[in-house]
Symmetry: D2
């Protein structure tokens, strides 16, 4: 960190700041400029909040010059992490795998029917919520473990890998029994006990960006997973809070190249939650691939108007099919490919 | 809900929408205007997402005209809810109780020392984190149960009631053993398994507004607690995400009168997290009381520069003492009083 | 508008509201539901603020069911507006014209050199600021009319049409003498005297979205231009204010399909201001085309590190050339083409 | 500025950066740390955008350690600026002057009637728009110069000083003929030609914060006024854009102490635009005074439901009278006074 001192700082304040810096376990490196004096901290200060220094007399500003995260950074590992899922699906390489399916698992009939179509159209993974985090306690909350069983049966029938969400630490173990990829939702991005448990679950984790999480906060949430030993982490941009109400969220696609520059982890996009409106999902799914996303997560329902949740943002199967055609072309423009299941 | 139809809607689309509305369990009330035709839904649609209707052919817009929450609303209960804590402390009445203390419990010495001073200065409750949700996995995470025991001992010594946070469902039961008020932090406002458990814990709950939660989302999170049978809920405004970096968050004090108009629940303010900078805490604490907050939560540390967390936003004890003088006068301007412990 | 009444509304309040509605020039259409009573306003209420009704006793909510804008809407004109610029360039049709050039005109040498290269690489229009709106009064403010003359000479030499900004009503006339397209910048999106003058300037106008403008506000700003008789309006998404500081703005590409559904006007994207960082401009330019933008505006400088403004977001010419290759492929995926000058 | 170099920076890159820094007119002060090498720039870099350095090879981050503004800063002038208006009204001292009046001047009768009452209740200045910036071109745009004349007559009759808005450079001269304080509205905060003209108009200027302006941007906008020689500048917090729609804007009261720490200029608050809802104006007006605002601007209308604009946020005269009672008490809590006209 760089501690910029006030113009009016006194020598005794400088001494006190240096002592404090050293008491915190760092070496203090003083640099007297013509305009300002600056103290650089030498040592590993990832666990140090800059507020600890800001509150000292004579300090004007504190700038973090090393990143607060560690194992998720490009400096820790330069090469792209490739997260491999059963069936040869790879996130983070030149292929762009597609995760598709309904918002929630509703019945065997629903999930089998749609899984079959999605596989034929080129999706590689099947999504479907069994435990649903709902804003209202009076909304339908999902089928629970019964839903997980339906997903597992759909996988057997189609070969599609399964992505589904866990809501609490105990749920992690249950979901990990059934799922190929465990999802942590946006509302839980900073649910640290959940992250710690997911870091030990033995399955790849899809971590969605929180509603108004900064990129640093997203990467620090991922750091919790890596710190527990789980390197198979896929990040997901899914829209942030906005001031305009034409869409449910504001899909921040620039997060894709920003994250890829800072971190070796793959990052995908979810234009369904990112927009919340069916006819905006299609252009934004295309834009996601063009921006360099390492995958897509798209809600598709056999009959959106009858969906028990998120019907308005679910594509009709035929729309998904058209979208697949378009993104196959777009991927080639940047040397990538949208590859379906073998 | 009011379903506004497109200008171009056809009779067969209208028929289909009516059927769908009725299939969802509502009666459809059609009103043909000169410009637009509107269908009103009759029935209880608190669990119905407007997206379910938006996706139908011929629908232009859907407006919710009843509130999505129920038990937290003024329509459910007109009179202010008064949350009583042991020792005659009341949130929601004419008194304005003050919660003060360090961000985290660090030692018996620290917490005893500060508790004593705070009591003398007029605080009614003692705050202090034992389980700390930290953005970085490498930051200090609190003393855990040992911290809870220190808080309990400080209560015995001073008579101050204890407010402290639980991070996961299992932690709720542990925290509820020791605390007088269980806190749900901003990052966990939509952690539904945690809310459900807190709804059953038998202790009053202090629910902090999420980082970018709308007022409706805050009230719906509280609804989870009331739906489980816990009516003793205190809401807390603690700042929302902003685009300016002079402060840690943007304290949205207007949330106080907005919530009080919509809900019977008390709402307090936390200017410490709301600003993140010591010399902004004082004016904003005053402003909170002037805006009508039903209480304050303020971080005070015996020696802020040595605090293990949040030092930069912690007041010095003498600052807190001055603040108490000021808010006592301000409270009288609106017929309220800042009353300390008996 | 729909005026939703309070549950507790009295008959005399209803009478008063009806009188007031009629005094404002509308007919009131009353609909008594089981839960709520609703009054629909019949008449043209584009100039009516909903606040005028919200303040009446007995009113709970007011919902606008017709759009506040008129001539810019799809309901006013169903077919896409095609804005034609000299030289056969068309915005709003299947082609995707590219506007490129430096942030600011710095010299004849600079602007001639880059214009030549951009033309060869496929750009159709040349951008370059002569009047620069700068956040600081101490920053360089552009070459003024001398810069306009340089642009005009560059047009003569290369055939590229010219896009440049006017900052005040008097400047509009001056800029319109030289430019093919007059630009209104983001900071001036709600500068109404400027918009009125631009509406009468006789040249197509490129209107950039304000820093935190809603889509409705953007369309209402455009309405000022159309209301003065200028139908040749090109909208431009250029990023909105965000809470993350890895980029200068948050490029809201979903605005592209949102605007195209609501309005017949073409909308382009400016990924240079939208991200502010050179290596993010390229993926977001690709994403813009994939999202359906009707054109791109990209900053390219012959030597970005020496640029007098916005060097960090300016592409090197060779990067622009590579980008053109990629977006040519992407355009084909949606049946469009990136066509250079004849 | 501090230029933090990449870990991987080479010696030749360092040389190049130093050359570039010197070419820009600064001295480069190199400091090699163990983790990072940092180059400090010595010289006045207020007009230098950090992007100019960010784009150089080998540069990781650039931190501004001196403020981008100059004359508005506390470092330029330590003592509070007191802006004196005719009649002994002072902004920036211990008194808290109150500006009140309707959103727009509608008639002699309206403005005389309300001015009289406001004066009796303790307001010191009369507000009222003659030129109204309206989001829609179809909304009523104000009475223009006729409105200015009405304001001037109301001043003669009551002695209240007049605050009213100018929308364009030419309008500045006209408004300055009639007004005691010239207002620059939120939408025009970065309208630089308007600011320059206002900087030369010879009257105090009330500068409102833009819809999503950072504090630095607000101060830089004020710097335009001071740079033209006008030191009589009053800043005004009036709410920023938010994601919640219960209020029109999010009143950011923390801006008051933040600005007062950075700048010597007075800052007042406008809770009417800051909330947009009458019953929220009152608590937030109180909170503004408690937060340390140097004045208030409040909309009051003789008959809000019939107001031609902003009726929903206008107080009834009797509400304003009650508010005055409350803020008189609150002001005493911090050693200030709400003083009416002599």
């Amino acid at each position: 960190m760089l501690v910029v001192l006030k113009k009016s700082v006194t020598e005794s304040e400088i001494d006190h700041i240096r002592e404090r810096v050293e008491a915190l376990g760092f070496r203090a490196h003083l640099s007297r400029g013509e305009v300002r004096t600056v103290i650089g901290l030498v040592g590993d200060h990832r666990g140090l909040a800059k507020e600890a220094l800001l509150s000292l007399q004579g300090v004007e500003e504190v700038h973090a010059v090393t990143k607060p995260y560690k194992q998720v950074s490009r400096e820790w590992r330069e090469a792209d992490t490739i997260v491999e899922i059963s069936g040869g699906i790879r996130f983070g390489g030149p292929e762009v795998p597609i995760i598709a399916g309904p918002c929630a698992v509703e019945s065997d009939e629903q999930i089998f029917g749609i899984a079959d179509q999605l596989r034929a159209m080129g999706a590689s993974l099947l999504r479907g919520g069994a435990f649903k985090p709902r804003t209202s306690p009076y909304s339908w909350q999902g089928l629970g473990e019964e839903g997980l069983k339906m997903l597992a049966r759909a996988r057997e029938a189609t070969g599609l890998a399964i992505v589904t969400e866990a809501l609490d630490p105990d749920g992690v173990d249950l979901v990990a029994e059934y799922a190929d990829v465990l999802q942590i939702g946006a509302r839980n991005m900073q649910n640290y006990p959940l992250l710690r448990r997911a870091g030990k679950c033995g399955k790849p984790v899809l971590l969605k960006r929180g509603m108004s999480a900064t990129i640093n906060e997203l990467l620090l949430a991922a750091e919790y997973l890596l710190a527990e030993g789980n390197d198979d982490v896929i990040l997901c941009e899914r829209g942030v809070r906005s001031f305009d109400n034409h869409t449910r969220n504001l899909l921040d696609l620039t997060a894709v190249p920003v994250v890829k520059a800072l971190s070796h982890l793959p990052i995908i996009a979810d234009p369904s939650h990112g927009t919340g409106v069916r006819d905006k999902v299609i252009p934004m799914a295309r834009a996601s691939v063009a921006a360099g996303a390492d995958g897509l997560m798209v809600e598709v329902h056999p009959n959106p108007p009858s969906a028990l949740s998120d019907g308005a943002q679910s594509l009709y199967p035929e729309q998904f099919s058209d979208l697949m055609e378009q993104i196959r072309v777009i991927a080639t423009a940047i040397g990538r490919s949208v590859k379906g299941p073998a």
